[in-house]
Structure formats: structure tokens, C-alpha cells
């Protein structure tokens, strides 16, 4: 169970980890506690699976990458094989099976459009793939994965 202190710490850490010397001492001061306490709780929260990742989250477009969301309509009996094939690519970070005529949805980030096309062509040719839609973003209104605890 998360304590009230853990929740305050996670709420703060979700929005801002200081880019400064002794960043956890800065957080500790904001929370009215000691650096050692913050480090001890964060280590526990990480080890117990509450924290997926700490660090910088980069804007893929600002780094020169091209992204798209891909919807695939796959015959049920080939679904697992196609999902495994999709998972092989490091450029594909999220791959979800969803309740829809398009039953696999994945995100693809590549340094070039050529690489994107190469990957999509390969996946489209997998046995059992009926249709594949590439749905690139035209405008981002929000990207902010934060959970108020």
C-alpha cells in the first residue's frame, strides 16, 4: 500500500525531477524531509513496480524521428504470430490487442520514412494480415501520462 508520503512524492516526481546537483535533496526539501528518506522510498517504489521509468522523456519529433499509429486487421488464428513479429522491432514500443475489427494496434518510431515503409511492408505481408492502416499524427493536443494519486 502507498502511504500519504509516497503519493505526494510520486505526484511531485511525475511532473518534475530537478535537473540539478543533488536532485533528490531538492525534492526532499520541497516535501519537508531528508534526502535519504526520498532515496529510500524511491528505491522501494521502483523495486515494487510502481515506477516504470525515471528520467527524461524526449519529444520524438524534436529529435528528428517520424511516428505513426498502426491498426492491423489480423485473422484470429494468426494473431499471436503477427503480434510476435511486430514485437521484434525495437522501433515498435507499444503493441496492444484491442476489441475491434482492427485487433492489433502498435506505435512505430523511426529515424526515416524509408525505414517506416520497410517495416510496414514487412508486417503487411505476414500471413493472416487482412488490412493495415497507418495513421500518422497531424496534430498533438496532449501527451502527458500523469496519474494523480
Amino acid at each position: 500500500m502507498l502511504s500519504a508520503f509516497d503519493k505526494s512524492l510520486l505526484n511531485m516526481l511525475q511532473t518534475d525531477l530537478p535537473i540539478a546537483k543533488r536532485p533528490f535533496a531538492v525534492l526532499a526539501e520541497r516535501l519537508g524531509t531528508e534526502e535519504a528518506v526520498v532515496l529510500e522510498r524511491l528505491t522501494w517504489l521502483k523495486e515494487n513496480g510502481y515506477i516504470r521509468r525515471i528520467g527524461p522523456f524526449f519529444d520524438s519529433v524534436a529529435l528528428g524521428y517520424t511516428g505513426t499509429l498502426v491498426a492491423v486487421n489480423v485473422e484470429e488464428e494468426y494473431l499471436e504470430a503477427v503480434a510476435q513479429k511486430i514485437n521484434e522491432y525495437v522501433e515498435i514500443t507499444h503493441n496492444y490487442e484491442r476489441e475491434s475489427e482492427y485487433n492489433l494496434w502498435f506505435t512505430l518510431l523511426t529515424p526515416t520514412l524509408e525505414r517506416q515503409k520497410e517495416i510496414l511492408d514487412t508486417i503487411e505481408k505476414q500471413k493472416g494480415v487482412r488490412r493495415l492502416l497507418s495513421l500518422p499524427t497531424t496534430k498533438k493536443f496532449k501527451i502527458s501520462v500523469q496519474f494523480k494519486l
Partner: protein, 159 residues
């Protein structure tokens, strides 16, 4: 433009963040630069938008958000700005993107909804539909997470 050192820093910053008193010093040592140089470059990435967030992302299931749905909307072009901004203000929505429309798929606004249960996801979408007046939408609930990882930028060049 990013130079070779920028790419190396970006690559290394995607490794596990050390939970120690001087984490930036530890990372800088691995890269082979001073802590001050690392802090200076990271600050500039943040200021120029290359870093959109410095902090933690939680595992949503572990913190109680057990259900997520990709909620897709058909939004008339002339209302896109207004509705996109409205959706973005809702805390239950983590992502809100406008995407291209293709012949077989007419939805253009994509919102990721997180809640404690499937029922709650549906209630959130119904409330958003009512507030916006949008009538054409669908909810795609996830039934299996086949893969979820963090992106590794410039990985090939440095590992």
C-alpha cells in the same frame, strides 16, 4: 542540430536513472564529461522542447488505473481546435492526437482514457460526448498488452 555528444547523452539518459545522491555525476562519469556539462545540455534540451518531461512515469495498473481505452471520435474539421483543446484539459486523458483519415476509417481524434474500471472509462467517454455534442465515437478496450517498452533513441549509434 544534435551533435555526436548530444546523441550519446540522449542514448545514455535512457538507461536506468541511478537512485543515489549524485545521479547526474554518475551518468556524466559514464559518458566521460563533467556533471556541469551534462546539466547544461539537459537544461537546454528541456528549454528547447527536446525533453518534454523530466520525471517519472508510473505503472498505471499498480497505482490503481486498471482499465484503458483508446477512444476515437469523428470531429468536424471546423471544431477540431476547440474540441482537441477541451479534451486535453481532462485529467483522465493522457494522449490526445489528431490523425489522418483513411477511406476505411473515418475517426480523426484519438484520446487515451485511463480509469479504475471499464465502466468508469465508458462513463468518462459518455460525459465527454455529452459536453462536446459529439455523437460518433467508439471505444477500443485493450484485451492484451503484447509489448510496452520505452523508446531507445540513437541506440544503434552508441551501444
Amino acid at each position: 542540430m544534435l551533435d555526436a555528444l548530444d546523441k550519446k547523452i540522449i542514448c545514455m539518459m535512457q538507461d536506468e536513472f541511478p537512485l543515489v545522491e549524485n545521479p547526474y555525476q554518475e551518468i556524466a562519469d559514464k559518458i566521460g564529461i563533467s556533471e556541469d556539462e551534462l546539466l547544461k545540455r539537459l537544461t537546454s534540451y528541456k528549454e528547447t522542447g527536446k525533453i518534454r518531461k523530466m520525471g517519472a512515469v508510473l505503472r498505471h495498473r499498480e497505482v490503481g488505473y486498471r482499465s484503458n481505452a483508446l477512444c476515437l471520435w469523428i470531429v468536424p474539421k471546423e471544431r477540431l481546435e476547440e474540441i482537441g483543446s477541451f479534451m486535453a484539459k481532462n485529467p483522465e486523458i493522457s494522449h490526445c492526437y489528431d490523425r489522418v483519415v483513411v477511406p476505411d476509417w473515418q475517426y480523426n481524434l484519438y484520446t487515451m482514457v485511463h480509469a479504475h474500471s471499464r465502466e468508469e472509462c465508458k462513463e468518462i467517454a459518455a460525459r465527454l460526448a455529452e459536453k462536446t455534442g459529439l455523437t460518433e465515437y467508439t471505444m477500443l478496450f485493450s484485451v492484451k498488452e503484447w509489448k510496452k517498452t520505452s523508446m531507445r533513441y540513437f541506440h544503434d549509434e552508441h551501444k
